[in-house]
């Protein structure tokens, strides 16, 4: 019998808590060596934000409500991006993450088209870090070259580091022992990261909340991320 992987990483986005401050976006850029592309390229739509905060406006001026929706790779269990990659650059890891092997990517960009969340980003040019910013690169994360696809990894470098540490100390991982950069940076605690296989973890508890929905759930992609919001269809209130 196939053994069940020990961990199943998941996340919570509490939309009732999100203030749209974008600290997560900045933290993600810093942690994952995501290069900025400059004003012109960004205006063309080539900015790379593994984590982005989508803004939706409800109502008519002056009675407008803004809704912030942080969107990043949903680490789907049935990920549309994976089967379409001709070289296995995009593949499913044992712990259920949607892995992206930069060295194996030849740049067909098929995965980015297939992804319904459009959370995959392409290196249209070689990334540039103007001095002295090259000194702030995170040594745990590889820098991607021109022509390859990249996306949120759930900070796999942190996951691996924690797992290896726990293994070395011959103990189990504790809930909250480590977090993704975005969750760590979130001042409103709208983002919670953890192990869904651990029924005691905060993320498991919140995933079961009746405020929970998945993004584009009807597409059947089985995301590992759950969005919480009061006005969801679960409690029958009108939104």
């Amino acid at each position: 019998m196939e053994t069940r992987p020990k961990h199943k990483w998941g996340m919570i986005v509490d939309l009732d808590r999100c203030t749209g401050c974008e600290a997560c976006v900045v933290a993600c850029h810093a942690e994952n060596n995501i290069a900025t592309v400059g004003e012109e390229e960004a205006a063309k739509g080539r900015a790379k934000h593994w984590m982005r905060v989508e803004r939706y406006y409800e109502g008519e001026f002056p009675d407008v409500k803004v809704k912030f929706v942080p969107v990043f790779c949903q680490q789907c269990d049935a990920a549309p991006c994976e089967p379409v990659c001709p070289t296995y650059a995009s593949y499913h890891t044992e712990e259920g993450l949607n892995g992206q092997v930069y060295n194996r990517c030849i740049g067909t960009r098929y995965c980015a088209n297939a992804c319904p969340y459009t959370v995959r980003f392409f290196n249209f040019f070689n990334p540039i870090w103007e001095k002295p910013f090259h000194l702030q690169l995170n040594p745990d994360v590889s820098v991607r070259e021109v022509g390859v696809m990249e996306k949120c990894t759930f900070c796999v470098q942190r996951i691996k580091a924690a797992e290896i540490q726990a293994q070395a100390e011959k103990r189990d991982l504790k809930d909250g022992e480590f977090q993704t950069a975005c969750a760590q940076a979130c001042p409103a605690k709208a983002l919670v990261f953890g192990d869904l296989n651990d029924p005691e973890s905060e993320v498991s508890r919140l995933t079961a909340s009746n405020r929970g929905t998945k993004l584009l759930e009807d597409l059947g992609t089985l995301p590992s991320v759950t969005y919480l919001q009061r006005d969801s269809w679960h409690d029958g209130k009108k939104s």
Binding site: G45, V84, G107, Y110, N113, P116, Y117, N126, G147
Partner: protein, 449 residues
């Protein structure tokens, strides 16, 4: 006005043995455009794909449009020629080779585009399943890998299909030519002597190839369509795509063939060989495909509209009345409103008429591929990620270069190989002569075609 066999040989070999300055001028012009396209490609490979207009979220643009377009054009040849051969349509004889050549060249050009569009084109060979120390094979679940195999199968098949009936003609050239030409054509003729045994084998091989190539051709464009239909993208994820693409491919292929034939007829003075009847018959085929195309588009649009699924409707309205509407209605004009009356009215189904209709269809079918690819990507599920796309000079140069490349390859081919199959044409005349007067009782020789 039947021509003698010798006259036919002389007429059809003339382009091979004589060359006018006009030819060199055309080669220089087309060659310059091809060189420019290569330059643009190397510039892009050196700088990064960012020099094209591609962007998030429209990751596929002109290159994939050209890819589908050229693979579509390639269906002119082998498929049409195979069907006409199997249906024993006697009028096909001067047409088949012109058509088969289009297949080989259009396919070669089309197959370049998936490589041109790669982020790291120098690694394209990773699609080949070769044993390596890393023991990684390509992902056979990916439609792009299916493409790789389908296109290569079709390319090998259509090269064989094109080359087989050329062998007797190369032998004819060998016998007529001298000097360096003779040496080359001696090798190419593969020792053809025209013995009954050789004729018999050629005929068997042609028959097998004609049958085998049809499912291959259908599969190729079905698989090209699945590059889109397999992805859960609004208006891509559709069961109609495979037959829709195959029909569209044959449609644009016939149009390409008519245009190529008109050029050949004019510049190689083949007025006696490519006659109005050929254009008229191909025009009828084009008319049928135009109706079929309209039927497919109508079915696709109607079901989408009636289903009223929000994510699909975003794409639907962007093509019907939004940003892409001018292109959409130009496409409908070029693919249906223009060719339909021209091809339906017998008086208009002349050489000029069919060529005008075909030019419309080629433009329209290119637009169709663009409209399948770009609006869907620009209007994916989350409205926040909506975007747009417009090409840069890099994509335009490469696109223009491939059209020039097609013309150039065609031109060079018509200098190396009789563009009308000499032996098949003679055989056709022979059979006609046999069939017409019932004076002679029974064919004696030459039932070897």
């Amino acid at each position: 006005m039947e021509k003698s066999p010798n006259q036919i040989t002389d007429d059809l070999l003339r382009p091979l043995l004589q060359t006018s300055p006009r030819f060199f001028m055309a080669v220089a012009l087309l060659g310059a455009l091809v060189v420019a396209a290569f330059g643009a490609f190397f510039y892009q490979a050196y700088s990064g794909i960012g020099v094209s207009g591609l962007r998030w979220p429209v990751f596929w643009g002109f290159y994939i449009t050209n890819f589908v377009f050229w693979i579509g054009i390639s269906h002119a040849g082998t498929l049409i020629s195979a069907i006409l051969r199997l249906a024993n349509a006697t009028w096909r004889r001067p047409v088949t080779r012109c058509a088969e050549v289009i297949t080989v060249f259009a396919l070669s050009i089309g197959a370049l585009f998936p490589v041109i569009h790669l982020g790291r084109p120098w690694l394209a060979f990773w699609l080949i399943p070769y044993p390596s120390e890393r023991t990684i094979w390509p992902n056979f679940r990916s439609p792009l890998v299916w493409d790789f195999f389908a296109i290569n199968t079709y390319l090998i098949g259509s090269v064989a299909f094109l080359t087989l009936p050329i062998i007797p003609d190369w032998a004819t050239v060998r016998d007529k030519a001298d000097g360096w030409r003779k040496r080359i054509y001696t090798i190419l003729a593969l020792g053809w002597r025209g013995t009954p045994k050789q004729w018999h084998r050629l005929e068997s091989a042609m028959h097998i190839m004609a049958i085998a190539i049809i499912p291959v051709a259908v599969s190729v464009h079905s698989i090209v369509s699945w590059d889109f239909a397999m992805a859960n993208v609004p208006m891509w994820h559709s069961t109609i795509f495979a037959p829709y693409f195959v029909a569209g491919a044959i449609f644009s292929g016939i149009a390409g063939l008519i245009i190529a034939m008109a050029f050949l007829r004019k510049f190689l003075h083949l007025e006696d060989y490519l006659r109005p009847i050929h254009f008229e018959n191909l025009g009828k085929l084009l008319l049928m495909m135009s109706l079929l195309w309209f039927y497919f588009v109508f079915s696709e649009r109607l079901t989408t509209w009636y289903g009223n699924e929000p994510s699909e409707m975003a794409v639907f309205w962007s093509t019907q009345s939004g940003a892409y509407a001018p292109l959409f209605w130009t496409m409908v004009f070029c693919n249906f409103l223009l060719p339909f009356p021209i091809l339906a009215i017998k008086k208009l189904r002349t050489i000029t008429g069919t060529v005008i209709a075909s030019l419309g269809v080629v433009v329209g079918m290119w637009l169709e591929r663009f409209l399948i690819i770009v609006p869907s990507l620009a209007r994916k599920y989350l409205p926040y990620s909506w975007g747009s796309y417009s090409p840069t000079w890099v994509e335009i140069t490469i696109t223009v270069g491939t059209f020039a490349g097609m013309a150039l390859l065609y031109l060079l081919f018509s200098k190396a190989v009789p563009i009308i199959s000499i032996w098949e044409f003679k055989l056709g005349q022979h059979k006609k002569a046999e069939a017409a007067p019932v004076v002679e009782a029974k064919p004696v020789v030459a039932e070897q075609g």
